[in-house]
Structure formats: structure tokens, C-alpha cells
């Protein structure tokens, strides 16, 4: 292995002892690879503390200053890790976002990576030192320090791996990507391989493993991505492209998202609800809507339903009232999804899934399909039962 970028999140470097543990893993990896870059997040909840301090000074702190404030968290953890690596005899240098040329564009606190790489980083690696890089931060065209928003450190790591032509290893609190949430399904098992597309679909459909942004970037730049436990002693999950996957599985994952709100609209001939107008207004109010279904009943009424989150209920209700819509809410529902790129080639998966619902006598309100997933809206009370039944059927 020539080059590797390892990434450790906030909980992996939360204390001095954890930093020492991470260092052991890093030193071990350095013996196996030529060039090693380590990307770290801020220690535990240290960034939250800084946000609280800012909150005491302003209700709406200026984002440019928040970026500088928050970026200090990663500087502390990267400096400390480098200090310890040097102390135990492994040459290391800490490098900030701007020192590794991590150029961003876009708004403060949600910068998008435009470019990465610098002479300083190359020089550090050329000297055989481990480059310990601050995650989550970059610098924009105007020379302002920026932060990358949610999942920023994963994205920093993938971006550096892309420019260095390196493998990217994300170390976290879980041992890899599972077929289902082990808290819901005891028999869930870790996948050895999964595709970029499936990982992105999982992230969008409730499996909290990797931020879709970083996976998308890894896919675009063909960065081999690997997720594993931050102790390093269990083999994790390799994320690769469809054509790299040797073993063909049927499906890879069953996920669920709770706190879904199902909105049912009824429009007859007389009281004509303009559905387009309704969706435009919801979009304008930044309300995400998801599974949309539409039918016409026996009396000729047009029935439309869509899902959103329970958190958006008040806003949605206000808009529907303004439009004098005839609506009902179905609450305490969940979205259960099965995911697998094998769906593209294999037929009958939808039929088998429908059979499971029939056999379990669990009704679903709504269904939507993508190229590599099928999602069902069901009562939350029945959601764990159906997750297990679907996992049984597809061996997940």
C-alpha cells in the first residue's frame, strides 16, 4: 500500500487517553504504508463548548467568526496527536486546512471543497513524516478560514485521498456498515463490501454511517473508501464501485427512519386544490417532502399523499390552511427501506417484499422505489417487526 488517509472523528480523540490509542493505531499503519495522512476532528464535544460561548455573546453570531472559532477545535486535536506521535518516536507534523491547501467555496459554515494539496503536505510526506491534518476546515478565495459543515471531516479526508491518489480509511465507533441497525435486528451482520451508491442510499434512508457528501466525492474521484472500528482490531467494510465488487449479493441493507409525518390531501371537483402551488409553497418554506403518491378514488376525488418529518408539522399545517386544503395527518409512522444495487438486475424483489408485508399482515400507506431501493411508509409500532421480517427474507 503506497498512500493512506486515516480519519478519526471527535469521539475517537475525545480524551488524552483516546488520542494515545489513536496514535498506536497510526504508528502501526505507518509501518505498512509509505505515505500516511491522518485527518482528525475536534476533541469530543469541544466545538459545542465554543458554540455555547458564542451563543452567550450573540443570538446570531457572524458566520465568518464562527468559522474561525470552530476551526480551532481541530487545530488543538491535530497538534496534540502530532505531539504524542513525536513523543513516541514517530515523526509527525500537524497541518491546518489552509496549510494543506484545502480550498473551499460557498457560504461560511458550509464550505464546499474546490481543491486540496500543497507543497507543505508533499514536503511533510517526502520527509517520511506522518501528516496530521485538521479536518472540517479550509480556506476560501478571500483567505478566510471556513468550515465544511456536517460530515466535514470525512469530506476533508476523502478530498485529500483524491489528490494524493490514496486509500481513505474512516475510523468510527462502529465496526463498519451493517445489513441493518443491530439495535433493531440482533442478527444484523457487517458487510465486507458495499457500493458507493448503496452507501449513499443508506445514508439518505436512515443508516447513520457516513455522510452522503463524502461518499459522493469518493465515488466521483474513485477513492477506495473503508470504514472500520477506531480500535483497528476488527476488519471493517470496504466501499467500492459496482464493477469492483466480486461477490454478488441480493440486497445489502434494510434501514428505517422514524418520526415521519404522512400528509393526505383530498381534492374533489368543486374545491380544486392546486397541488403544484402547494408543493411550491412547501419548498419555499424549506420543508423537505419525500414519498409522493397520487390516486383517484371511486367518486373521482384526487387523493395525494406525501411524507415529511414530524418536526415540520406546524409549518405544513399553516401552509395547508392558507390554501384551504382538505387534509389529514397520519402520525407515528416510519419509513422502512430495503437497499441493494442488485435490484437493477434482479427481478422479483419488489414482489418478494410485498409478500412479506402480506404474510406479516402489516399494511403500508405508501411506497416509493428508486433504482436501488424500495421504501415503505408503515406504522412505527410495526416498523421493527417488518425490518426483521424483510431482513429474514433477504438474509440481511
Amino acid at each position: 500500500m503506497e498512500r493512506v488517509v486515516m480519519k478519526f472523528g471527535g469521539s475517537s480523540v475525545a480524551t488524552i487517553d483516546k488520542i494515545k490509542q489513536v496514535a498506536q493505531l497510526v504508528v502501526q499503519r505507518k509501518q505498512e504504508v509509505k505515505d500516511l495522512v491522518v485527518v482528525v476532528s475536534a476533541m469530543g464535544k469541544s466545538t459545542n463548548h465554543l458554540i455555547e460561548l458564542a451563543g452567550e455573546l450573540s443570538n446570531e453570531p457572524s458566520e465568518c467568526e464562527m468559522d474561525l472559532l470552530m476551526a480551532t477545535g481541530e487545530m488543538v486535536s491535530s497538534a496534540l496527536l502530532a505531539i504524542y506521535l513525536n513523543a513516541i518516536g514517530s515523526k509527525a507534523c500537524s497541518l491546518t486546512g489552509f496549510q494543506v491547501g484545502l480550498k473551499t467555496s460557498g457560504a461560511h459554515m458550509q464550505g464546499k471543497i474546490e481543491n486540496a494539496g500543497s507543497e507543505k503536505l508533499d514536503q511533510c510526506l517526502a520527509e517520511g513524516a506522518i501528516a496530521v491534518v485538521t479536518g472540517f476546515q479550509g480556506i476560501d478565495e478571500a483567505g478566510e478560514i471556513t468550515t465544511l459543515g456536517r460530515g466535514g471531516s470525512d469530506t476533508s479526508a476523502v478530498a485529500l485521498a483524491a489528490v494524493l491518489n490514496a486509500r481513505c480509511e474512516i475510523y468510527t465507533d462502529v465496526a463498519g456498515i451493517y445489513t441493518a441497525d443491530p439495535r433493531i435486528r440482533q442478527q444484523a451482520y457487517k458487510l465486507d463490501h458495499v457500493t458507493y451508491e448503496e452507501t449513499m442510499e443508506m445514508a439518505n434512508l436512515g443508516a447513520k454511517v457516513l455522510e452522503p457528501r463524502s461518499v459522493e466525492m469518493a465515488n466521483r474521484y474513485h477513492v477506495p473508501l473503508y470504514v472500520a472500528l477506531n480500535t483497528g482490531d476488527i476488519i471493517g467494510t470496504q466501499i467500492l464501485s459496482e464493477d469492483e465488487r466480486m461477490e454478488k449479493t441480493t440486497l445489502t441493507n434494510v434501514s428505517k427512519i422514524d418520526e415521519v409525518l404522512l400528509v393526505n390531501l383530498k381534492a374533489g371537483d368543486n374545491k380544486d386544490l392546486n397541488i403544484t402551488e402547494c408543493f411550491l409553497r412547501l419548498a419555499h418554506a424549506h420543508i423537505n417532502i419525500d414519498i409522493i403518491s397520487h390516486t383517484v378514488d371511486h367518486e373521482g376525488n384526487r387523493l395525494t399523499s406525501f411524507t415529511s418529518t414530524t418536526g415540520s408539522k406546524t409549518k405544513i399545517e399553516r401552509i395547508l390552511k392558507e390554501l384551504a386544503a382538505d387534509y389529514t395527518f397520519t402520525e407515528d409512522v416510519s419509513k422502512v427501506s430495503i437497499i441493494g444495487s442488485a435490484m437493477r438486475n434482479q427481478t422479483g424483489i419488489a414482489a418478494r417484499a410485498f409478500d412479506v408485508f402480506y404474510a406479516q399482515d402489516i399494511p403500508f400507506y405508501s411506497v416509493s422505489t428508486s433504482e436501488i431501493s424500495i421504501s415503505y411508509v408503515v406504522d412505527t409500532a410495526a416498523s421493527n417487526q417488518i425490518v426483521n421480517a424483510l431482513a429474514d427474507e433477504f438474509g440481511l
Copy 2:
């Protein structure tokens, strides 16, 4: 007033409430001046906490990493102050050492300022915003973040004032520069004016007001320097060059330094001690030696004495033993100094001071004079008495 650089130390921004107080003073000053730069240190003891963390990881943390680690303290305080200034309606931007182009040379953790100023700083001021700059830090030629060592934030402020052609105002816990330490002499009073030279001499001779480095730089670049209380409601002390001072005073200050070690060496004809060799070895061991005096006694013995600090006693003893020197130590002594550039032109000051010692019946072991100061080595037990007596004589 066109341009002003205000500097606030760590204790002035130690808490959220203190940051708010500083902001009030800054906003008030901004109404009086066109361009305003504010340089801040890290909040209270926050840097010490970071140093402790590093200490848990390494006995000798790499200095390059320590610089990055310590530099975060000032980033936090400058971001927080800028957040609050914006919150109360005063446009402000926070800028780091590298963003204001504070270029340094020399070793890590003790960088020397080579240059300062950047487009970003000019732009911020041109927009009428208050530039809130991190003190104590810069960037070196290799693009490494550096810190400036002791008194670094004062020096940052003076360097920025020099390039901006601005007045530099240092706000601290004391109301200005006093004729003597008020804890020793109740009648000590604040000086309205004092010269750069006197201030440097005072700093070297025990008055802990400003680091000599920043005063030296202010002197070199003709930066008007002002020291005042961080609440801003008492007029402080203006530091200026000799020819700018309107009122002519005799002396400006009486200071003392405790924990002085007096070393007495005796070299006869037989056991020839090479004094030069001795001083070279002490210098090699990084031991500062100060007042040196030399006489020959009635029997032809060469008597040499010098002062150092009690903290260096063990090292000094080791070296003297290696040289088989005939030595004694006089401990519990202090160095009392009178300072004033008026010494240059006024005669009789030394005589008046000697008279004070005679009248008080206090002996001194050693004396040294510079162009603008006279220092006496006396027993610590008598030091406060002589400080007061000298202050009485010279009206300090």
C-alpha cells in the same frame, strides 16, 4: 486621531463578561478614530490549559506543534470579541496572525516579527470595520504558524501600529506606569509621560509593566505608545521619546528585584582563577549575570563579585567547583534601582542617592550605573525601606 491599535491582555478577556466590557470600550474608541485595530491575547489561563494537555502527552512537546496549539487561544478570543461587536451593531472582522501578514523569523515559540500588514487588513479597515487581530502569533517563511514568546501580544500590537502608522494603546490591569510599586510605596503616583528608554530600563530593572521588546520596537519605529487601565476611565501613561517630553522631571521611577544572588570570588597570586573562563562557562550554561564589580584588597587579592538569580545557584556552584574557585554566596539580597533619563544632564544624582543610603544607615554590596539608571545591591530585609527613602528624596 486617524488610526489606533488597542491591545487587551488575557486577563482583560478572561470571561464572557469581560469580553463584553472590552467591546464597550472598543465601540467608544471607534467613534473617535477612523481606523481601529484591536489585538487580543487568549482568554485568561486558557493557554495554560492547552500546555497542560500537551504535557500529558510529551515531556518535550515539539515546538512547531506547540505553536499551533497555543495559537488557537487567541483565535478563540478574537472570534468571540468580533462576534459580540457585530452583535451590538459595530462591524468587526476577526483576523489571525497570518491573515494580517505578521511574518516571523527565528525559533518556534519565540518568533521575531519581520513584517506585518496585508491586503485583508487594509480591506477590513477600508470597509470601516474594526479589525480584531489575534495577538502573540504569526507565520514564518515556511508557512508554519509561530508564536512570539513572552510579551508577544504587546509586540504584535506595536508591529501593526508601526506598519499602519497608528498610535498603540496597551490596556492592562494597572492604570499606567507608576513612580514605584504601590505595594511597596503607598505614595507612588502614576506618570503622565515617560520615555521609551526609561520604560525599557524599568522593565529590565523590575517594574513589570511592558515587555522591553515591544517598547524597543515602538521606539525604533516611532510608535506613540500609551498604557492605561482596561476599563478606559482613567488617563494612563504616554510613552514618548526624550525630545517629545514637555515636562522635565528629575527621575521617573524606583524599582526593585528580589531573589538576587550575589556571588563573591577571591583570587590570590597562588590560586589563579581565570575570571574570563568562569564567565564564559556561565554564559555557556545560559546563566545571566548582572552587576559585576572588581577590586583588589590590601593583600593583593583580586576580589570579583557578580549578581545572578537565586534560581541559578545550583548551576553556578557546580561551575565554580569545577574551576576550584574560592567563592562565597550572599543570599537574600535585592537590586534597587533609580531610573530617569534626566540623569544624562543632571549632575549630583548619584551623590544624593549615596547620601540616602548613608542617612538610612543601609549598606549596599555593589553598585552599577547605566546612562539613565543606578542600581544597588542591598539586603532584601532593608530593600523596601530604601525604596521609600529614595522615592522621598527624588519625589517619586
